[in-house]
Amino acid sequence: MSNLARTPLYDLHLGLGAKMVPFAGYEMPVQYPAGVMKEHLHTRAKAGLFDVSHMGQVILRSASIEHVSLAFETMIPVDVLGLSEGRQRYGFFTNADGGIEDDLMFANRGDHLFVVINAACKDADIARMKANLPNDVTVEVIEDRSLLALQGPSAAVALSTLNASVAEMKFMDVATVELVGCECWISRSGYTGEDGYEISVPSEKAVALAQALLDHPDVEPIGLGARDSLRLEAGLCLYGHDIDAATSPVEGGLTWAIQKARRAGGSRDGGYPGAERIQSEMAHGAARKRVGLRPAGRAPMREGVPLYASEDTSDQIGTITSGGFGPTVGGPVAMGYLPSNLSTVGKTVYGELRGKRQPLTVAALPFTPANFKR
């Protein structure tokens, strides 16, 4: 794995007994000795610490926050201007065909936007921002900070032991907070469906912060394996799997992230790549939709399993894009795409697994209720 990058927590992961795997150009912990199942359940019961330092952190800055916000709106179909200082939103870069180039989080931190992008897409995203934002907007790639996520019902209690002010934050609030003697940029958010925080910490203090959190009796280290099953149960998309450059936000069930101001008839209607297709689909519906799926049997149905309308029809109607065992659900769960007219909750479709058609039921997402601090 010599060509792979390492995060500042690499030695800590090894010391904790992690099994390391290549992921998006990094050597990352897929699991610790507890294993995926226990790590998943621990996160839902108490709190899990995730190293997400492989993700990209970028600051967009200009003469005014309004100018940066309007410039960023030319790249994403989200209301950036209307985001208050100290708040974060989910968004996605779109392309001219209305597909999604990456999904992201961005925060209004007073005089700049702080953007967090996926590891696998970060080079392309940074290039895209540099190419598309006007010259008077600087794209500053943050290379000297690590990113940790603390997730689960005990996250607030555990992080409060380092700085009591974090307990006051609400879901999607961002704040600058001192932890382990340095300035951290914190958001109350995550990608597990649980309450929790994402913490941008100066890299030289990342181990100290991780260690301080792991010293809390409720906090255990959690690998990418459980991160995937947690986000799948929470009905959250994994870029490159559940959404991609050919998938529109309408197909992906992400129109909730396109606020009124950017929709047809809104004050800043359109004006982002692919607006024509996306607005047309918002008005008339998309031909296919992302759905939750519950396999009827115990066998997990994973990414790539083809879906059919019946046990014997030959025409494939869709595909599973994420699937596996949901430890909290206690059975297999999946997401995939189906024609919109077959995407009603309760509808039965068939997945072909090892040459046999097996029923799945279209299910509401998320599979496990979200536990955010609203």
Partner: protein, 120 residues
């Protein structure tokens, strides 16, 4: 007990019946096992046939039959409680019993010392 390179163990019982399971090493590398599909009792298998499907939280894998023969019994309790394979892979969580057509095929497999060398 004999061992295969596919991390299966084989235990000779009476009457040419061999009990087959997976090793501790295999169970640990697979991770938490959440699903298992057994062959049918009475089915005839050839050495190398995929005869058990295992799904862990990570991935699907196959267990191949180490011998030619007839599956005389499967451990169907594992289908309801696949986690048992992680708990007791070399004991209660045996997979199936096969009536070997040719017991000399057992000679192809490693003893415990050789298997321990293999897994390091």
């Amino acid at each position: 007990m004999k061992y295969t390179e596919e991390h299966e163990w084989l235990l000779a019982e009476d009457d040419g019946i061999i009990t087959v399971g997976i090793t501790e090493h295999a169970a640990t590398s697979l991770g938490d096992i959440v699903f298992v599909e057994m062959p049918e009792e009475g089915s005839t298998v050839a050495k190398g046939d995929e005869c058990v499907v295992i799904e862990s939280v990570k991935a699907a894998s196959d267990v191949i039959s180490p011998l030619d023969g007839e599956i005389v019994e499967v451990n169907s309790a594992l289908e309801d409680d696949p986690g048992k394979i992680n708990e007791d892979p070399t004991g209660d969580a045996w997979f199936f019993k096969i009536r070997a057509a040719d017991l000399s095929q057992m000679d192809d497999y490693m003893d415990e010392a050789a298997y321990k060398d293999l897994i390091g």
